[in-house]
Amino acid sequence: MDKLGIDPKLLVAQTINFLIVLFVYIRFVHKPFIRSLNQEKKKKQELEGALSKIQKEQEAVQKQKEMLEIELESRTKKAYNKLKGEADAMKQAAIKEAQEEAQRIREQNTQIIERDREKMVEDVKGQGVSIATAVLEKALVGLTEGELSKKVTRAVIEKLPRIQNE
């Protein structure tokens, strides 16, 4: 040992010293460090789990949101179509009613015009007869009681038809 330059006492002392240092290292550095690492790892895993859960929930919420949007769009479209249909029907009904009313008014007006026209024609005819009679009366003044009137009467009497079964 001496030839190798190794002092046994020193070796023992160094060995003891090493063991003490090793003990202190293991006891106060290595174990807490490993413990701390494990805790960190565990915490990280927990956080990752929570994150994953949150992400899953977020995805589910997103999916639900999309479904709700689709459903909302569908319902909106359906309601819009329904309202549009009703509005169209109301519009058509209003147009039809207006057309019928217009037709009725037109017919009424036509009837009124026709009635007025007939009345006017009758008036004109009546006035025409009166005017013509008055004019002829003036023109034939003196003749109606004279020979002409008697001649006409005789001619008319000849034209009278024979009444049967009398």
């Binding site: 007869v129 013509a132 009679t133 000849e158 038809p161």
Partner: protein
């Protein structure tokens, strides 16, 4: 019944009915017709039977010329006024 007897419209209608049965000849002319002319009219109308006939003469100068004869439901208008009226009736509006 009494109410009906006092109703002028009903009386008028009854009068018309009786007149139709009564044989009334109404002649309207612009001047008073002579007996000869009336007789000629009765003859032409074939009304010279033994059954009594009442002749109702009406002078209407507005007829201008010709005569109008009415007997029961027969009505013959051979007057100038009637011709004018028919002429206006035939005119289109």
């Amino acid at each position: 019944m009494e109410k009906l007897a006092k109703n002028p419209a009903f009386l008028k209608r009854m009068e018309n009915v009786v007149r139709r049965e009564e044989r009334v000849l109404t002649i309207r002319s612009p001047y008073a017709l002579s007996t000869e002319e009336v007789k000629h009219i009765k003859q032409k109308l074939n009304l010279e039977s033994r059954i009594p006939l009442r002749v109702n003469m009406v002078v209407d100068k507005s007829l201008l010329l010709g005569i109008v004869v009415k007997y029961k439901d027969y009505y013959f208008d051979y007057s100038l006024k009637g011709h004018i009226a028919r002429l206006f009736e035939s005119l289109e509006a």
